[in-house]
């Protein structure tokens, strides 16, 4: 990694271009900020296709790009399992939540969860679920950004984290959801273009024969390689593989920053269209991770393992360097800088979406609905949301800087998915479909989901890397991914809480939620439909 020690001029130029464009977009969006609906939901004027791009930009984090490429490079087929799980998850979103969220919600997932429940406890629980997911995911992305920028551009880890955080806050505070949406769209276009060009370069090396890519990848393994075309190298415990698979396919449907995107389109039809667009974009992307991951193995072989760093995160940038002509050539440096710029844009778009969803939970759910009981003005709520965004951002920056490079990124992303699948997903689905479901059910479900996911991760062997990693956990616990236990517990909490309490109906009935979520009658209007033009 010695060649990254000094500042990479090409990378700085590319980063500056990315930053200037996104700042321009933020300035444009700030001129169009009218109120809470623009701040949280971009005035609900984003089209289905735009939202599909923005969902892709919101969803495909550095863990998807650099992380999966690295895992495939190091472990082969097991890395590709992540691609499959992350993609199939969108069927869960499409069939169960996307249109219903748009029809029933306003700004946050708590709007939907607490629609016909007692507002204060249900909203508090939903806000906690959102904040828990957003916090772990956000810190993971910030640390990832620091590590990546330090390695690729040559600036210090802490400075890199602070810079990322500063730009993220700039988009959110000045441009709200409108700016965040367009940052995500720009990032999605850059990322798709980047991975497509890289894939073509890789395919060119093997005469455009993908099977030859697998052959060469396999030829490029040595006795000490962990790489295999068969499963079982990275996820060596079968039950852990199943547990992870479950958390991936259900977790996406509980990610607040993804679900929030459905509030930005004018109606349920556009929400549905945007999921399918996102499926094709994200599916295309994950299909191409094959060429990057297996290509890195075929082209760089075992010799590149050390330079790929922890988890193989630098495999993709190193592959770009190699494809462009190798170390020290202009083409190599340029390709590396472009891919680094794409990765940087990737992180910025994801963290902006996360901060926005967390600020919604604080300002819209906790401040406006619970503390002020809906008596605050819309203007006040937006100001509080901006203060909340700034505070959350600063806390995340501080934790990332203090925790430093030692914080395990994939562990925190896994935790975020586990909480989303175990706490947010069961409560949301049951709130929308189960007539009997009540406030106690929501509170118990979210609490049991969050605590079991966090508790099982704390005792998991990943957190206790002793000399003998098999028995690292103090309780002898061997499961790394909590999903297979915590997801059923989340559902169980919802069901038991509901059945064990005798709750009377609230102001708004299930009839209203049911008809509204299925038909869109009475749903929030887009600003275009409200204006006289």
């Amino acid at each position: 990694m010695t060649f990254f020690a000094e500042i990479n001029v090409e990378a700085v130029v590319i980063f500056s271009i990315v930053l200037s464009i996104t700042l321009g977009v933020t300035y444009w969006a700030s001129k169009r900020m009218t109120g809470a609906s623009t701040f949280y939901a971009a005035g609900r004027q984003i089209t289905g296709f735009q939202n599909g791009l923005a969902i892709s930009g919101d969803y495909l984090s550095a863990a998807s790009f650099l992380g999966i490429a690295g895992l495939i490079y190091l472990y082969g087929f097991d890395g590709f399992l992540y691609s499959i799980g992350f993609l199939v998850a969108f069927l869960t979103v499409m069939f169960l939540l996307a249109e219903r969220m748009r029809n029933a919600g306003k700004y946050t997932i708590a709007d939907v969860l607490s629609f016909r429940l007692r507002e204060r406890p249900a909203r508090t629980a939903a806000a906690m679920g959102t904040l828990a997911v957003a916090a772990f995911y956000l810190i993971a992305q910030m640390v990832g950004a620091g590590v990546l920028i330090q390695a690729l551009v040559g600036i210090d880890f802490s400075l890199a984290v602070v810079l990322t955080g500063a730009f993220m806050l700039c988009y959110v505070i000045f441009g709200g959801m409108l700016a965040t949406t367009w940052v995500q769209i720009i990032k999605a276009v850059l990322l798709m273009a980047g991975i497509l060009v890289m894939s073509l370069f890789v395919l060119e090396r093997v005469g455009f024969n993908p099977i030859e890519l697998f052959n060469r990848a396999e030829d490029n393994t040595t006795a000490e390689s962990t790489f295999s075309l068969a499963p079982g190298t990275f996820l060596s415990s079968p039950i852990d593989t199943v547990s992870l698979g479950l958390a991936l396919v259900l977790g996406t449907a509980g990610l607040p920053h993804i679900l929030m995107r459905f509030f930005t389109v004018p109606n349920a039809r556009a929400a549905r269209g945007s999921v399918v667009w996102a499926m094709f974009l994200i599916g295309g992307f994950y299909l191409l991770t094959t060429f990057i991951g297996f290509g890195a193995r075929a082209i760089m072989g075992e010799a590149g393992v050390e330079a790929a760093g922890t988890g193989g995160n630098l495999a993709a940038p190193n592959l770009a360097l190699e494809l462009g002509g190798g170390e020290g050539t202009f083409g190599g440096d340029l390709f590396l800088a472009v891919i680094a710029g794409v990765a940087f844009a990737t992180i910025l778009a994801v963290v902006a979406g996360l901060v926005l969803s967390a600020s919604g939970a604080v300002a819209h759910d906790i401040w406006s609905s619970i503390i002020r009981k809906g008596k605050d003005s819309e203007k006040e709520e937006v100001v509080v949301a901006k203060i909340a965004a700034a505070s959350i951002g600063v806390i995340a920056i501080l934790i990332a800087v203090i925790g430093g490079e030692g914080l395990n990124v994939s562990f925190m992303v896994g935790l975020a998915f586990a909480i989303a699948a175990s706490a947010n997903f069961p409560a949301l689905v049951l709130a929308l479909t189960w007539r009997r479901f009540n406030t106690m059910g929501a509170v118990w479900g979210v609490l049991l989901g969050v605590t079991s996911a966090i508790g099982l991760i704390i005792v998991s062997p990943k957190v206790w890397p002793g000399a003998d990693s098999d028995t690292g956990s103090p309780l002898g616990w061997t499961l790394s991914n909590p999903g297979i236990i915590s997801i059923p517990l989340g559902f169980l909490g919802c069901i038991l809480g509901t059945l064990l309490s005798s709750e009377r109906g609230t102001d708004r009935s299930f009839h209203e939620l049911y008809v509204r979520s299925e038909t869109g009658l009475g749903s929030e209007k887009s600003e275009k439909a409200l204006s006289p033009h």
């Binding site: 499959i84 068969a230 996820l235 004018p266 399918v276 209007k525 439909a529």
Partner: protein, 133 residues
């Protein structure tokens, strides 16, 4: 435009809509599509994950040179996502959306599809708001 809609919201009789045959047909037909699809995709996906977890040798078997059974099955997951996505989109546009519009026709003031229903929708909307008041 905003006035009558907002006042109309409090006046909507949700329970009557829920009991109406149009609404019942909507939810039954949508359920009849979504539930089997959900069972299918979760089974196909979890089957794939179980094979990856417990049948490593089978997944590592070669179909042709370096192409494994596992990778071919992975490709079927992509095909499933794209296929179900497009199928649902068509079904929703052709069947579910028209049914939903019928179910709420009495309250509809939908500005998203101007043209054909504008005149009808507006007159129906104003008539119904008068009726409930």
């Amino acid at each position: 435009m905003a006035g009558p809609t907002e006042r109309g919201e409090t006046a909507i009789d949700w329970e009557t809509i829920e009991r109406s045959p149009e609404f019942q047909e909507l939810v039954q037909r949508r359920r009849g599509f979504v539930i089997p699809c959900t069972i299918f995709f979760l089974s196909w996906y979890l089957g794939f994950i179980l094979l990856a977890a417990y049948a490593e040798d089978f997944m590592g078997e070669r179909v042709y040179q370096g192409l494994t059974v596992g990778y071919c099955l992975a490709l079927t997951q992509f095909a499933m996502v794209f296929g179900l996505g497009l199928w649902y989109l068509r079904k929703a546009d052709n069947v579910f959306d028209p049914l939903a519009e019928k179910a709420i026709a009495a309250y509809s003031e939908d500005a998203t599809h101007p043209g054909e229903r504008r005149a009808k929708g507006e007159s129906a909307g104003s008539a119904s708001t008068e009726a409930v008041r």
